[in-house]
């Protein structure tokens, strides 16, 4: 590609002399971009449609509420995987929110200088680290020393995956609260602590919740770090100190199994994952709209 310079302009006048041909080119070009946009959206929609068609038959009440059946026995479900997913994500959220929010507050209030810049850089680095490497970290810090797999180690990995999004979005959300709002609170005699906790953060809350929902959506379908943290379980496991079943992991294990019965369940599980992720993303989108309106008002 070249910038707007002499050679480029000469070429324009040589190649496209008539206005008619230039207009034709413009229409063809527009059609090409439209075709690419439709190709991108349609190929992905085709995948989703296929998952829905294959998965819908597997989903029923017992699929949602029962334990996995042994090989050769029909029926069974992913109930323990759903439970495990909820527990692991719940603990991950409880750990990620304080750290992420405090770091976001720090970056928003003390945002200049070398140390905050370094923190932002670290946060961006973390957001690009492959989830499997984060899984290895959780293994090294919580599984290897204790010598057993556990739900809590999976929560730790999920927390690491959620943090960068929470940190950077809460920073922006707090920054976008007008300075006058904070100054108004201080002028009324509030301490900085109270002004932040009672005025600034509540104003920024819809945007922070948006970020939280997106972070949860990100880890809901995450499978790679679970392989050697949560590991999987055949039981109703509620103690996060033990290995736990997780829906995404069950989908993976069923998919690569040689049994048609399990493969059918993998499609059902995949459909559940997509529905969960989409609901979270839509919720985030609605929240964001509310956040925008709140800031305008």
């Amino acid at each position: 590609m070249t910038t707007l310079n002499g050679t480029r302009e000469r070429r324009i006048s040589k190649r496209d002399r008539s206005l008619g041909s230039r207009r034709l080119f413009a229409s063809l070009g527009a059609a090409l971009t439209l075709a690419c946009a439709i190709l991108a959206a349609a190929s992905l929609l085709a995948i989703l449609g296929y998952v829905v068609v294959q998965g819908i038959g597997a989903i029923n009440w017992s699929f949602l509420t029962q334990l996995p059946a042994p090989v050769g026995v029909t029926g069974g479900g992913v109930g323990n995987g759903l439970l495990g997913m909820a527990i692991i994500i719940g603990i991950a959220t409880a750990m990620a929110v304080p750290v992420g929010l405090l770091t976001g507050i720090y970056l928003a209030l003390f945002g200049r200088g070398a140390i905050p810049e370094a923190l932002r850089f670290l946060s961006d680095v973390l957001s690009g680290v492959p989830s499997i490497a984060i899984g290895l970290f959780a293994y090294a810090i919580l599984v290897a020393p204790l010598k057993h797999f556990s739900g809590i180690s999976a929560s730790f990995a999920f927390m690491m995956l959620m943090l960068p999004l929470l940190v950077r979005t809460s920073e922006q959300a707090i920054r976008s609260v007008p300075q006058t709002v904070r100054e108004g609170a201080l002028a009324l005699g509030m301490s900085n602590f109270r002004a932040t906790m009672q005025i600034v953060i509540p104003t920024a809350m819809p945007a922070i919740i948006t970020a939280l929902l997106l972070a949860i959506a990100r880890v809901t379908g995450e499978t790679a770090p679970l392989l050697f943290t949560a590991f999987g379980s055949q039981f109703w496991e509620t103690n996060p100190n033990n290995p736990m079943a997780v829906l995404a992991l069950q989908v993976f294990n069923y998919a690569i199994s040689p049994y048609p019965n399990w493969q059918a369940q993998a499609w059902g599980g995949a459909l559940l994952l997509i529905v969960a992720v989409f609901i979270l993303s839509l919720g985030a989108r609605l929240m964001l709209r509310r956040a925008m309106r709140g800031l305008e008002a």
């Binding site: 590609m1 070249t2 910038t3 480029r8 324009i12 496209d16 080119f25 413009a26 229409s27 070009g29 527009a30 971009t33 439209l34 075709a35 690419c36 946009a37 991108a40 959206a41 190929s43 992905l44 929609l45 995948i47 750290v99 405090l102 507050i105 720090y106 970056l107 209030l109 003390f110 200049r112 200088g113 070398a114 923190l119 670290l122 680095v125 973390l126 690009g128 680290v129 492959p130 499997i132 490497a133 290895l136 970290f137 090294a140 810090i141 690491m160 900085n192 602590f193 995450e222 499978t223 995404a248 989908v251 998919a255 690569i256 995949a270 994952l273 997509i274 992720v277 993303s281 989108r285």
Partner: protein, 314 residues
């Protein structure tokens, strides 16, 4: 600690609660920084036995044999690079053109829901792509795409040999589908950030919309769009589950794109829980360390390029 002057003054003036508040905020940030530093340190510590035993030749040795405890990362590095480049080669053009459409051609009532749809698709879990790849794409490559390519280009070594369905090409195609939304979403933001003045100046010279888009807007946005592609490449390099399900899992380097292969991420996913000896586990963690360092470099580059166009760090 460099603070904004007004805030620091207030912290000192107002109340003990403020000092406590500042301390808690510092503590949270320090914990965050420590976690990331610990991530790097734990990966280095975990791979230390392997680093000591195999040295730098770990990177260019191509033998991967757990039974004799001989480990070399080259086949996985090759598989990772090859699948990622297939992916970006397939995804870049479509993704960028779709971004041009969304930013400059589509009417607003059409662009908004389409952008939202594409962003939603970026959130589809990896394991879902893997499932579809294993049961739909792999058979399709075996029976249709593969034979067709071999029929036309069979004389090229990259399209020679038996077609298994699973392999480098299938892995690359799955990755391409997964990164198209990334390329499109970021390129669209970058294109939208190009000042209106440029477009208006171009239009005032009598250019068509297409000429403005391809000769003014895209050249102005090229660094940022390149950054979007590099960021997508970074995603592709580290993508694990979907690739693991369709790559074929064989630690060999073959010229053919139809041959089963392995990537850094998928060998960890497949073998880590089965690894018995400590040197085996250590070698796998070293693969994770390589992946970590490479994706860090790629991401840093991508972000610098995107910022240089878009200005803000949003």
């Amino acid at each position: 600690m460099t603070a904004e002057p007004q805030f620091r003054r207030l912290v000192h003036f107002v109340s003990p609660a403020d000092r406590g508040f500042a301390t808690v905020v510092y503590a949270g940030s320090i914990l965050f920084a420590l976690l990331i530093i610990a991530l790097f340190i734990m990966l280095v510590l975990g791979s230390w036995p392997s680093i000591v035993k195999f040295g730098p030749s770990f990177i260019w040795k191509s033998e991967w044999d757990p039974i004799t405890s001989k480990f070399g990362a080259l086949p996985m590095i090759y598989g990772t690079v090859a699948t990622s480049f297939i992916a970006i080669a397939l995804a870049a053009f479509v993704g960028i053109m779709a971004a041009v459409f969304l930013a400059d051609f589509a009417p607003r009532w059409f662009a908004t829901p389409l952008s939202f749809l594409i962003e939603l698709l970026a959130a589809v879990p990896s394991v879902v792509y893997g499932l579809w790849g294993l049961f739909v794409l792999a058979p399709f490559v075996r029976t249709a795409i593969g034979p067709a390519l071999q029929h036309v280009f069979g004389w090229l070594p990259i399209f020679a040999g038996p077609i298994y369905g699973v392999g480098l090409l299938t892995g690359g195609i799955i990755l391409a589908l997964m990164i198209v939304p990334t390329v499109t979403a970021i390129s669209r933001d970058v294109i939208a950030a190009i000042p209106r003045d440029l477009r208006e100046a171009s239009a005032s010279l009598g250019t068509t919309k297409w000429e403005t888009a391809t000769r003014v807007v895209l050249p102005a946005a090229r660094v940022g769009i390149f950054g979007a592609c590099v960021l997508a490449l970074g995603r592709a390099l580290g993508e694990t589950i979907a690739v693991t399900m369709v790559i074929g899992n064989r630690p060999e380097i073959s010229a053919s794109l139809f041959a089963p292969s392995y990537t850094l991420a998928s060998v960890i996913a497949n073998e880590f829980t089965e690894a018995t000896s400590s040197i085996y586990i250590s070698a796998l963690i070293e693969l994770g360390l390589i992946l970590f360092v490479v994706s860090m470099v790629v991401n840093a580059l991508a972000r610098l390029m995107i910022w240089s166009v878009r200005g803000s760090r949003a």
